[in-house]
Each structure stands twice: as structure tokens, then as C-alpha cells.
């Protein structure tokens, strides 16, 4: 065990934990004033619900002994036998440290999806949704890629969660839009973000926490962590600029929300690549992310899909780009190093993750819908979810 590595993994866990409230503020600022609490609540409660699930069975399903490449065993149920001995996958830190660090990823992933169905999902149904989604979507995919499952056997590279976190959440987001439908009033009247400083606060906490997300994924305070840290910051910076410029030329003015979204797109895209590529490649990955995600959102608008806060466009598409880019730029093994195998493996892992997330999310949503319904009543939606679901108003005298 190494005290420097422990120090780094603990603070990284804390940083990733802070990303979930960061996300809550990012999303909370983007919605209208009458719905801010409902979406903040969805992120906040994920910290509690998934926090408990992970400790009980989520970790074991993801990282327990491999069963046919598909799922982990339940021998670590309720952290049985998970203690302070060296972590099987990271011998310089205790097993519990590895567990809690991974748990922070499990928490934020379902929270990412909430931006898609903003302003219209029942809270009770949401609770069932994250329990099922975390168990049947997140844990298996995490197992495939990081827990010794079939994608890791294939050699798929995902440094910090391009497939496991962003593609899985982004594609699930798209499904929720298909099944829940548009917000009342979509396309009819404007729904401007109600608090842009809150959006920037969220972005700042996300960017800050992402250092733990990516550089922490080195699982120690080592050279790889340093590389991942630098590529992360660089991709965030180069992600910001094209979005700003495209917005500017499209609409005549540079937008702060646009700049923030571009930064997030850059961060998403560098996630799977962070410890595998050079800083120069990170410049390109961030740059590309911004352009590709921007285009994806235009497409979505054309199809009148009401992915309210662009989870698919930014996380889904940004994650796909990042996973592919890893196959292109990964030092030594990527396309640029003259190698096509890695790229093909990456494509396989992208397609597998997309397919599984789409199908499993569809099943989960349909099941919940048939039992208790997914969507609030039109009157509740009109009044706003904060009052109608939570009887609270965000701002008062």
C-alpha cells in the first residue's frame, strides 16, 4: 500500500462525489424556475439510493468474480469480504477505497440521464428507475469493461468511463425521450434557462471533479494520473472554443451556456482516452467533441426530439466520439500508430454498449410505465414539478 496513492484515490473519490451536485446545479440552472428542485432532487437522491445499492449489491455485480464475461458474482454482497486488504485490481490501495471510488461513478451515471426527461417524470417512478437501471444496466456494463467481462477480454479501452458512463447514460436518455414524449409546450413557447450563474457553478464543479474522475482512474498518484489530468484540462479547454465560435457565427453572439456546454463536451470525449493519449491528441479530441456534439444537437432539434438538456447530444455522442477517438489516438495501439485492431475493438464496444443500454432501458421504462406510469399529469406539469411533486418553491422572500 502506498500513502500517496491512498491520498490520491480518496481525494479523487471526493471530487467525483462533488460532480453529482455539480450536475444538479448544471441541470437545475438550465430548467425553468418552477422545475429546478425536481431535477436537483433527482441527482441528490441518486447519491443516497445508488450509494446504498452499490454497497449492497452493485459493486459485487460489477466487480465480483466474472460469470461468463457478462456479470460479476454476488460473493461481495453487502461488502462481505471487502475490506482494507489491497484491492484486487489496484494493489497499492485498500479494497474499500477502490469500491468507494467506483461507487461515485455508479452514482453520477443515472443522474446524467435526468436531463433528458426534465420537467415531466414522476418522482416515485424515477426512484424505481434508478434502482433498476443501476442494477441491470450500469453494473453489467461496468463489469464488461472494467470488471473482467467480455469487452475487457476483447481489449476494449475505456480509461474513465466513455462507454460505461457516458454512452450508457446518453443512449438511455434518448430512450426516455421516446417513451416519455415531449414537454408540454415544447416548440410552442420558450423555456429559457432560469439561472445561468447556477449553470456555471455546475460546470465549474464538474470540471473540477473531472480531475478526480479521469486522473483518479489511474488508481494511484503516478505518471498515468498526471497524463490523464493534463489531457482532461486540455480537452475541456479546446472543447470550449469551437462551440463558442459556432454559436457566435450562427447566432451573432457568443453564448456563456454554449461555452459551458462545449467544455462539458470536451470533458466527456476525453474521458475514455485520458490516460492513453498524448496532450496533443487531447487538443484534437476536445476540438472534435465540440463540433460533433453541436451537430448532434442540431440533428436532434430537426427531429423534434425533446431531450431537454441534451444528454444524448453531449454525453451519448460525446462518449461515442471519445471511444472512437481512443481507437484512433491511443499511444502505440491506435490508428495513428498504424494499427486498426484497437479501433475495431472500440467500435464493437461502442455498439455493444449502445445496444444494451437502449434495449435494457426500454424494458425498464416499459415495466415501470405499465405498473405506475412515468409521467406527471398535465396539470402538475403546468404548475411545475417543484410545487406539484415536492411542495417546495426554490426561491422565496
Amino acid at each position: 500500500m502506498d500513502s500517496g496513492d491512498i491520498s490520491w484515490i480518496l481525494i479523487s473519490s471526493a471530487l467525483v462525489m462533488l460532480m453529482t451536485p455539480g450536475l444538479a446545479f448544471f441541470y437545475g440552472g438550465l430548467v425553468r424556475r418552477k422545475n429546478v428542485l425536481s431535477i436537483v432532487m433527482q441527482s441528490f437522491i441518486a447519491m443516497a439510493v445508488v450509494g446504498v445499492i452499490w454497497v449492497l449489491w452493485g459493486y459485487s455485480l460489477a466487480f465480483g468474480s466474472d460469470i461468463m464475461g457478462i456479470i460479476g458474482g454476488l460473493e461481495w454482497f453487502a461488502l462481505n469480504d471487502v475490506g482494507l486488504e489491497p484491492a484486487p485490481l489496484a494493489p497499492t490501495i485498500p479494497h474499500l477505497a477502490f469500491m468507494v471510488y467506483q461507487g461515485m461513478f455508479a452514482i453520477i451515471t443515472p443522474a446524467l440521464i435526468t436531463g433528458a426527461f426534465a420537467d415531466r417524470m414522476r418522482f416515485r417512478s424515477y426512484l424505481f428507475f434508478i434502482v433498476l437501471w443501476s442494477t441491470f444496466v450500469y453494473s453489467p456494463i461496468a463489469h464488461w469493461v472494467w470488471g473482467g467481462g467480455w469487452l475487457s477480454s476483447l481489449g476494449a479501452l475505456d480509461f474513465a468511463g466513455g462507454t460505461v458512463v457516458h454512452i450508457s447514460a446518453g443512449m438511455a436518455a434518448l430512450m426516455t425521450v421516446f417513451i416519455l414524449g415531449k414537454r408540454k409546450g415544447y416548440g410552442e413557447y420558450s423555456m429559457t434557462p432560469h439561472n445561468i450563474p447556477l449553470i456555471v457553478l455546475g460546470t465549474a464543479l464538474l470540471w473540477f471533479g473531472w480531475f478526480g474522475f479521469n486522473a483518479g482512474s489511474a488508481l494511484g498518484a503516478n505518471e498515468t494520473a498526471v497524463l490523464a489530468f493534463v489531457t482532461t484540462n486540455t480537452a475541456a479547454a479546446t472543447g470550449t472554443l469551437p462551440w463558442l465560435m459556432i454559436d457566435w457565427s450562427h447566432k451573432g453572439t457568443p453564448s456563456l451556456i454554449g461555452a459551458a456546454t462545449g467544455a462539458v463536451a470536451g470533458l466527456v470525449a476525453i474521458t475514455p482516452a485520458a490516460g492513453f493519449v498524448t496532450v496533443q491528441a487531447a487538443l484534437a479530441i476536445g476540438f472534435g467533441a465540440s463540433i460533433i456534439c453541436y451537430a448532434a444537437i442540431q440533428l436532434k432539434n430537426r427531429f423534434h426530439l425533446d431531450d431537454a438538456l441534451d444528454v444524448w447530444g453531449v454525453h451519448g455522442v460525446g462518449g461515442i466520439w471519445g471511444a472512437i477517438a481512443t481507437g484512433i489516438f491511443a499511444t502505440g495501439v491506435g490508428l495513428i500508430a498504424g494499427n486498426l485492431t484497437q479501433l475495431s475493438v472500440q467500435v464493437v464496444s461502442v455498439i455493444a454498449t449502445m445496444t444494451y443500454s437502449v434495449v435494457a432501458t426500454w424494458l425498464i421504462l416499459k415495466a415501470i410505465d405499465s405498473i405506475m406510469g412515468l409521467r406527471v399529469s398535465p396539470e402538475e406539469e403546468a404548475i411545475g414539478l417543484d410545487i406539484s411533486l415536492h411542495l417546495e418553491e426554490a426561491y422565496a422572500r
Partner: protein, 112 residues
């Protein structure tokens, strides 16, 4: 002159604003209000104490216009801010004694 004051749903403002502009009613003043009417309210809770929230957010739109335009204006407002459900709001008309443009000092109908 008459002041036309409409209490409308927040989400109808864009609609109404554009319709008014098209019909040549540019001057207007908007403010955020909360209202109670037939639309039933809710009860807020804070750590065991409950508070009645029957006041829901609305917008108040005020336009001072010439008497001759009143019916036209009322029609535009009704057409562009009703959904047919309870809570659509009210229009109130008040007599205006005079109007003055601050910049120029013009008075009466010329000022609006």
C-alpha cells in the same frame, strides 16, 4: 384612454407579445405576480409546519391605449392567452386620466 391590465399564464407571454406587436400594440409593461382564483392551490411544508400555497405565478401585462382600440385589444389578448383551462386569467380595464412621455413631455394619446 384606458389601461388594459391582463393577468395571464407565464408561458403565454411570447405568443401574446408577438401578436400585439403584429397588431401594432408596441408599448407595454410586464410584471411578475402571483395569483389566486378558481385555480386551486397547494400546501407547502417545512419541517413539520404546513403553509398554504394557493398563489401561483402569473404575469401581469399592462397596456395603456386609446379608447377606440379596446375591443380589438381585448380580443387579441383573449385569443393569444387562453388555453381553455382554469387559470387562464383576467383582463381588467381602468380609466386613465392622462399620459405623459417623460422624454418629450407630450401628453394624452400622443404620449402612448
Amino acid at each position: 384612454m384606458m389601461k388594459v391590465e391582463a393577468i395571464i399564464r407565464e408561458e403565454k407571454l411570447d405568443n401574446l407579445k408577438n401578436a400585439l406587436a403584429e397588431a401594432g400594440f408596441l408599448g407595454m409593461t410586464v410584471s411578475e405576480v402571483k395569483g389566486r382564483g378558481r385555480q386551486k392551490g397547494y400546501t407547502l411544508n417545512f419541517r413539520g409546519k404546513s403553509i398554504n400555497v394557493d398563489l401561483l405565478p402569473k404575469l401581469k401585462v399592462e397596456l395603456t391605449i386609446d379608447d377606440s382600440n379596446i375591443n380589438k385589444l381585448v380580443d387579441i389578448i383573449r385569443k393569444n392567452s387562453s388555453t381553455g383551462e382554469i387559470g387562464d386569467g383576467k383582463i381588467f380595464l381602468y380609466p386613465v386620466a392622462d399620459a405623459i412621455r417623460i422624454r418629450t413631455g407630450e401628453r394624452g394619446p400622443d404620449a402612448i
